[in-house]
């Protein structure tokens, strides 16, 4: 309960303080952090919790962004109403790509999604869709103003709007991965055959996880398009997919809190590294990615969660005995798999819900 109160206070501070105190450029950066966090959260659901490696989530981000941009520029749909549409469209695409993904494991899926990411800008530029997508030039959309005569600049309003959407998405994701379906997802990741033997419908869970994941990243794409007020094919190159992947690994693949760390990382590190040289962001990404995989395989999220667990006031040291039982119960399926992604999400962070049978 204490934890929940602390989180609530933290969220309220997050809503108020930057809106009042930050300049519009810093607010824009924070908005992009929120956007990337939701996109990486989508990847974490698929890669971290379900074990399907995707290097092509930039594609879903692009689909979400273009859905919003096309709806706003061609049909004058209000920006908030484009989110559900792009959620549905991206979930549909995710489901479709999840079907062949059923037959592809591990490296092959990474390879196929990588190919998808490389192909996306070409498809967006193609003349068949040029009337909608604006071809190479892309589309410019209007930045929305604050509604209800609120005394807020559009940057302030966009930050609040994106943050509220993100909070809803995080609460839903949290409940999803802690619940029955989340356990099924993790069981498939850790041992597909055993999961199937326990009555989990592999095809159903995997394709729907893909759909949910694509939906998250697509909504992030929509939010990103609204915040940047511009979409063009070359902003969705393979580098975007790789950036999201780097954020995912930096934060910790199977850690919901880690996605925020990952998002902060990919938003601010390139800005810092850019001052050194044009080549530096890529090199810094690469070096940090490899260093993280060697030194902190659970990512920053897993690392912070481990420290959190050791603090005297954290839930695990209060409840003590039941916590071990809970960990044992949750860990049955991945007992013989020393994989870091199998470990990271077993770190108890919540207020003790898991201990109940």
């Amino acid at each position: 309960m204490q934890n929940r109160a602390a989180v609530t206070i933290f969220v309220i501070l997050l809503l108020i303080v930057p809106t009042i105190a930050f300049s519009s450029y810093h607010l824009f950066q924070l908005t992009m952090v929120v956007v990337y966090a939701v996109a990486i959260l989508g990847m974490a659901i698929l890669v971290g919790f379900n074990g399907q490696i995707s290097l092509g989530h930039g594609a879903f981000y692009a689909i979400g962004a273009y859905t919003t941009a096309i709806l706003m520029s061609s049909w004058d749909v209000p920006y908030w109403a484009t989110l559900p549409v792009s959620a549905v469209i991206c979930a549909g695409f995710g489901f479709l790509i999840g079907l062949p993904a059923l037959r592809l494991a591990g490296h092959y899926l990474a390879l196929t999604t990588f190919a998808l990411a490389v192909a996306v800008p070409q498809v967006l530029k193609h003349k068949l869709f040029e009337d909608w997508t604006g071809g190479v030039q892309g589309l410019v959309i209007d930045k929305p103003d604050a509604p209800f005569d609120l005394k807020l600049s559009s940057d302030q309003w966009l930050y609040l709007f994106s943050l509220c959407v993100a909070i809803v998405m995080y609460v839903l994701a949290w409940n999803l991965v802690r619940g029955r379906i989340g356990r099924a997802m993790r069981a498939i990741r850790d041992h597909a055959t055993a999961a199937e033997a326990m009555g989990i419908n592999l095809a159903m869970v995997k394709t729907r996880t893909f759909a949910v994941s694509a939906m998250y990243t697509g909504i992030a794409g929509s939010l990103g398009a609204i915040a940047v007020a511009f979409v063009a094919p070359d902003s969705f190159s393979v580098f975007l997919s790789i950036t999201l992947f780097v954020g995912l690994c930096a934060g910790g693949a199977a850690s919901i809190g880690g996605t925020i760390v990952g998002a902060i990382f990919i938003e601010f590190v390139p800005n810092l590294a850019d001052q050194v040289s044009k080549a530096a962001p890529g090199a810094v990404y690469g070096v940090i990615l490899i260093a993280m995989l060697f030194l902190m395989p659970m990512g920053a999220g897993g690392f912070l969660a481990r420290i959190w667990r050791k603090l005297p006031w954290s839930a695990s040291s209060v409840t003590g005995q039941p916590r071990i039982a809970a960990a044992g119960h949750d860990g049955d399926l991945d007992i013989d798999l020393p994989s870091p992604i199998a470990r990271a999400d077993r770190v108890p962070v919540g207020g003790g819900e898991q201990a109940k049978p």
Binding site: V47, A115, L116, V123, A280, G286, I341
Partner: protein, 289 residues
């Protein structure tokens, strides 16, 4: 009709490049069961090294061979330093290391040799042969590619080192028991793959011009070729590479247009993996649960 023949011949010429890169991918896949996402960037970097040697005043072929040797050493070092510790890591970590490698080598290319598009010389005469069906460079690069493929085949088939490398890839435990130094064999495999990639880079650079992202598309076609032929079959990968070259050229000319050529690679990859995951010449893998 003439156009068709022309397309097929230039398809074979580019197919040779894809075949080399596909072969490099297959060598690494056979040895370590990893797909090397950084293969294309490694080849680009090697091509830059060759260009540096040429600009230093070396004759073309000396620079070429020097670049191949340097690439071999770089490949060896990458395996020893970065890939070895990942032997038993989960797939996500392995993919992460390869993606990190891709980013680092790409940035290093840009850092050392800057991002401007450069011309790369071709050692072959620039004139049309055989009634204009093929250019001197196309013929020469196809010849070099075939020579490399033949050399690799002879090496693996008829030398004891090649045999040891095949054994180490196929059954590491038993190989170690009969005295093969498995770790070094895998490292050698990486070095060879990097060397083959550098040849492909030098052969393709005069056509597509040299910039740090030169190989991104080529890598994709090489993936498609390797999968089409079967990722665990070197011969299959080579034939697959040539096939993809021809499919790409014909498809680009007659079916989808040049704008969607990369999407064609995606379609080939998805089709092969869903219809026949083992590829045309690969073996289906069965694993005990």
């Amino acid at each position: 009709m003439e156009g068709l023949i022309h397309q097929i011949i230039s398809g074979i010429a580019t197919g040779g490049i894809y075949a080399s890169v596909a072969l490099a991918l297959v060598m690494i896949y056979q040895a370590t069961h990893h797909i090397n996402f950084a293969q294309g960037e490694m080849a680009t970097f090697s091509t830059y090294i060759a260009l540096t040697f040429i600009n230093m005043g070396m004759p073309y072929w000396v620079a070429f061979i020097a670049a191949v040797v340097v690439s071999f050493i770089i490949g060896l070092l990458i395996e020893r330093i970065l890939i070895r510790p990942m032997t038993n890591a989960p797939i996500l970590s392995a993919v992460g290391v390869f993606v990190g490698l891709l980013l680092i080598i790409n940035s290093l290319s840009g850092w050392f040799f800057d991002y401007t598009i450069k011309q790369f010389p071709s050692p072959f005469p620039d004139k049309a042969l055989w009634g204009g069906f093929i250019s001197g460079h196309q013929l020469g690069s196809t010849g070099i590619t075939l020579a490399v493929l033949l050399a690799v085949y002879l090496f693996f088939r008829h030398t004891s080192l090649g045999l040891a490398m095949r054994a180490a890839a196929l059954n590491p435990v038993s190989s170690r028991l009969v005295g093969v130094r498995v770790g070094w064999m895998l490292a050698l495999g990486w070095g060879l793959a990097a060397a083959i990639g550098s040849v492909a880079g030098c052969m393709v650079a005069p056509v597509v011009f040299l910039d740090p992202n030169m190989m991104a598309g080529i890598l994709l076609y090489a993936f498609a070729g390797a999968l089409l032929g079967g990722i665990d079959s070197p011969l299959g990968a080579v034939l697959g590479g040539f096939a993809v070259g021809i499919i790409e050229n014909l498809g680009g000319a007659y079916v989808v247009g040049t704008e969607l050529k990369l999407t064609l690679a995606l379609v080939i990859i998805v089709c092969v993996l869903t219809v026949r995951p083992a590829g045309l010449m690969g073996r289906a893998v069965q694993s005990r649960v």
